[in-house]
């Protein structure tokens, strides 16, 4: 218990505040009284006493320490301690001086603090999001050792996939033969109707073959995990998510051990997962084991989770997996030709899930760093301008004996104070931004489910601190160095304005303008390219009437529906759906663009299989005859499937253009045939038609080959299908009526995955969309910073040249000439900055090309637009100070100073 010891924070405070000689007796006294009160009145009273006394000790203690400090500070502008006094005293004095100086210029200080705040806020908010989404999205302990195994199958043109990528036999090979992995479990995903009291609800479910809880390192929050026996025998036990338990089961702990209905069958609820246990949004956890004899090696619908064995690394695992795939290829090449060249690649679970988000995260982090850089440049120019005004103050101090180091240190102290104050305000802004960003992200169908909310964690705060310190150093270093180099004598003799220092300052200010424009250029180009990408994506024809189509899914429990009943149900549902007011037509299908779960390998009849060739494979989609009419896909050759393509009739299929072109000789495809399956399930299917391509792999990728067949010709049909309904009104307005039609057919069947095809297509491009909206905000901030920065610099430069301008005007320069002179001062460095920035941006953009679509980094339109915008910005920002400079009265100007 803590009650035996006095409160730690209070003790710390007292020991900080009390002068050294009294520290020990005072703390001893406090503890003595504390112990007495603890014995006599109990811990609460003792702690209250202690804390109160600690607070009351602060006043006298700090007063004494300050008084001691003031004694050393008797001559505030005298030579700084640094040789005589201790380093700590010197720093304390510096800080005190800095604070006083800053408070004496409240407007300037506030501007600097606010500018830094904007920069720090942008960085911290972006970091908070990136941290929550990409760096540490999952709550599982030791995330660097939790891995999943992905597959690359070149022969099937299958790129790296971590999803439904392994068969039971392959899982067992990995689990048994890999010494570098332990606690290997496989799992499959599906849908189950779950009811406790009331109507069943579709729950996204995961089926675990092995003890996933020890692998994840996360036990159920209530109840227990599955036992080995339960997994082996596939017993009817279930664990539900925290969300389901708290929203549907009334958060009743008493229900653990009770019954719930899964697909109508009674299961024992043995546990509830913790709130943050997120595994692709799994709501229902069930045990399962599949014998390798049930599924052939090619039937890949599992993924695996494992821990790297102690003392091994991810590289060790991958080396072992390489050896394993070589053995597999040697042993099974005859039956499983795609083993030729197959690769198993272990990735950490984090990496496997967020790798598609990384480019966006990198882009945003980079952009926010640029915003901070711009903020620093702005502040540096403000401080540089002030350093000029302070030239005399510094010169006097230096003449009185302050070393150059001491002067530089003081300036640096001021910068750090400013940047930390800015950081503090920035963290406040970032907290607000992170909260609204988190809310916005939570409502979006991101590819990964966020376990927690986006909040300012300790890590984010640390990042903010680092960012502000870096900023303080960055913008403080320039004036500090220039101060330490300054020779005091000319500043004492003459006035600032025409000295050599002023010339080098002008050069520094022009450089700052260039830097600001370059920074803004990078963001502007990145943002422009991303917006152009989105525009290009919006112009991609999805190949289906995406905006008029709404889809939903129904999963019939195989416990109550046999194959014939399933077909009857869906035929009925299709008719009913098409008859809903507002509907044009409806079709039943097992996948639709861009959703493609089901793909298969086949052999083209008559073609010689060449061993070095890729093996033909395509999305294999079962549909009904109304598919064409409903989706808007058009017939290119032959005929489409019809209701006559029933069981018992010849097997027929329709190819999309890509499949026809790649495997069946293009226009001549009709009449060709292919073979699919093996052994008893092998059959030969004739191509009877060719239809147009749809973007079946997402809007940003060309269509993949796809073959359609009538779902009535499916051997042993699936139990879950989508219904697509085309509407002449807003398709989502039909959902209520559609739900009612399903309920009329079977009140136990919920519908789920309700969305328009347009929404499904857009969900895939979501990271790009989110990234571009955030980048748009950052770019706007950057442009504002650059604009105000240029304005400030040009104002200052123009003001310091008042006398020169006066001379010029006295000699006959016109107002326009003077304006031109001042604006040119900004335009030349701005043009240089824009050029550099744009070139840099093109280089950076080539590095993260994955985010862009339909534009090359060297996109002339974007680059020219950015350049024009930046030059215009510089011109506008410098025009106001130029006008002011041109209004100067030559006589007055010559009298200045």
């Amino acid at each position: 218990m803590t009650s035996g010891r006095p409160p730690r924070l209070a003790t710390w405070l007292v020991s900080r505040a009390t002068p050294a000689e009294d520290r020990e007796p005072l703390l001893g006294d406090l503890e003595e009284e504390y112990q007495r009160l603890l014995a006599e009145e109990g811990p609460a009273s003792a702690r209250r006493f202690y804390r109160l006394e600690a607070l009351r000790a602060l006043g006298p203690g700090l007063t004494r320490r300050l008084r001691a400090g003031f004694a050393a500070d008797a001559v505030p502008h005298g030579p700084l301690p640094g040789r005589g006094g201790s380093m700590l005293d010197a720093v304390r004095l510096d800080l005190k001086l800095a604070a006083r100086t800053l408070l004496r210029h409240p407007r300037l200080s506030a501007t600097v603090v606010l500018t830094i705040a904007v920069g720090v806020a942008a960085n911290t908010a972006v970091f908070a999001v990136v941290d929550a989404v990409v760096l540490r999205p999952f709550p599982f302990p030791e995330p660097e050792r939790l891995v999943t195994v992905g597959t690359v199958i070149p022969k099937l043109r299958q790129e790296l996939s971590f999803f439904e990528n392994l068969s039971p036999a392959e899982y067992l090979d990995i689990a048994r033969e890999c010494r570098t992995l332990e606690r290997v479990v496989a799992w499959d995903m599906g849908n189950r109707q779950v009811a406790h009291a009331g109507a069943p609800e579709n729950l996204f479910s995961s089926f675990f073959w092995g003890d996933a809880f020890t692998t994840l390192g996360m036990a159920p929050a209530l109840g227990r995990g599955f036992t080995a026996d339960e997994i082996r025998r596939g017993e009817k036990v279930a664990i539900v998510s925290h969300r389901y338990w708290s929203t549907r089961l009334g958060a009743d702990p008493g229900l653990v051990g009770g019954r719930i209905l899964v697909n109508g069958a009674p299961y024992t609820l043995v546990g509830v997962m913790p709130r943050n246990a997120v595994l692709y949004g799994t709501e229902l956890w069930l045990p399962m084991e599949v014998g390798p004899e049930v599924f052939p090696r090619q039937r890949r619908q599992f993924q695996v989770l494992a821990r790297i064995a102690p003392g091994r690394t991810l590289d060790d695992v991958n080396a072992e997996l390489r050896a394993l795939t070589a053995r597999l290829a040697a042993a099974h090449a005859a039956q499983v030709p795609e083993y030729d060249g197959i690769r198993f690649l272990a990735h950490t679970w984090n990496e496997a899930n967020v790798r598609t988000l990384k480019p966006a995260a990198l882009l945003l982090t980079g952009a926010s760093v640029f915003v901070l850089l711009l903020a620093c440049a702005n502040v540096a120019s403000l401080l540089l301008a002030r350093a000029a005004a302070r030239g005399r103050e510094l010169a006097v101090r230096s003449a009185l004996g302050a070393g150059r180091g001491a002067l530089a240190r003081q300036l640096l102290c001021e910068s750090l104070l400013l940047s930390l104050a800015g950081g503090l305000v920035g963290v406040g802004l970032a907290a607000l931004a992170a909260r609204s960003l988190g809310t916005a992200l939570a409502t979006l169908p991101l590819p990964i489910t966020l376990p927690g909310e986006v909040a300012l964690s300790a890590r984010a705060l640390g990042y903010a601190l680092l960012a502000s310190l870096a900023a303080g150093l960055a913008f403080g270093l320039v004036p500090a160095i220039s101060a330490s180099r300054r020779d005091p004598s000319p500043a004492l003799r003459a006035f600032a304005g025409t000295t050599a220092g002023a010339v080098s300052r002008l050069r520094a200010e022009r450089l700052l303008v260039a830097v600001e424009v370059a920074g803004a250029a990078v963001l502007l180009v990145g943002c422009g390219l991303l917006l152009r990408s989105l525009d290009q994506l919006n112009h991609v024809d999805p190949g289906v009437a995406a905006s008029e189509l709404v889809g939903f899914r129904v999963t019939l429990p195989v416990e109550r529906y046999d194959a014939a009943a399933i077909l009857r149900f869906f035929r009925e549902l299709e008719e009913q759906s098409a008859a809903v007011p507002g509907a044009v037509s409806a079709t039943v299908t097992d996948q639709y663009p861009p959703i493609g779960f089901s793909r298969a390998r086949f052999r083209v009849t008559g073609a010689e299989p060449r061993s070095d060739d890729e093996l033909p494979s395509a999305l294999l989609t079962s549909v009904t005859a109304s598919y064409l009419r409903t989706t808007g896909v058009s017939l290119r050759a032959g005929r489409f499937l019809s209701e006559d393509d029933r069981p018992g009739r010849p097997f027929v299929a329709v190819a999309n253009e890509t499949a026809a072109r790649r495997y069946f000789g293009g226009p001549a495809a009709v009449g060709k045939s292919f073979e699919i399956g093996s052994g008893e399930r092998a059959r030969r299917i004739e191509i009877v038609g060719v239809v147009s391509d749809a973007r079946n792999r997402g809007l940003d990728r060309p269509a993949g080959p796809e073959l359609f067949y009538h779902l009535h010709q499916d051997q042993g049909p699936a139990n879950q299908y989508f219904v697509l309904v085309r509407a002449r009104v807003d398709p989502l307005s039909l959902v209520r009526a559609l739900r009612a039609r399903v309920a009329a057919l079977d009140p136990q069947q919920p519908i789920y995955a309700v969305q328009t095809v347009r929404q499904a297509l857009e969900a895939q491009g979501l990271p790009r969309r989110v990234a571009s909206s955030l980048l748009l905000v950052l770019t706007a901030v950057a442009l504002v910073l650059a604009g105000t920065g240029i304005f400030a610099v040009v104002s200052h430069v123009a003001a310091s040249r008042t006398r020169e301008i006066g001379v010029r005007m006295a000699l006959g320069a016109t107002v326009l000439q003077v304006r031109g002179l001042v604006v040119r001062q900004a335009l030349v460095p701005a043009a240089l900055g824009a050029g550099t920035g744009i070139l840099g941006a093109v280089g950076l953009a080539s590095g993260i090309g994955g985010l862009f679509f339909g534009v090359r980094p060297f996109d002339p339109l974007t680059l020219a637009g950015a350049a024009a915008l930046l030059i215009a910005l510089a011109a506008v920002a410098s025009d106001a100070p130029a006008r002011r400079a041109a209004r100067v009265d030559p006589v007055a100007a010559l009298r200045v100073e």
Binding site: E31, A57, P60, G61
Partner: protein
Amino acid sequence: MPRGEHLGEFEELVLLAVARLEGVGYGVSVRREIEKRAGRAPALGAVYATLARLEQKGCVRSREGEKTPMRGGRARRHFALTSLGASTLRASREAQERLWEGLDLGRASREP
């Protein structure tokens, strides 16, 4: 007054308490003495600040005492009156008595 020392009101209370404790007074007991006699419980921190000031003025001296587990192994600091302290207190009292002489403000409102 020797050395021209002047005592504040609280300093005087603390100094009197130190005198009453006869050389073995320390933070807690000084505070308790003031609480008992003067009816107010000053903060320990304030007691120490005052004792430090008194020591600077030469009115008290201190020595390190025993370390006990009750105190988390920290030593006590005992305070004793110096002769300067004693004469300062006497001088203060005499000055007060001279001022009180012949003055009658009635009985103090505090009952004995």
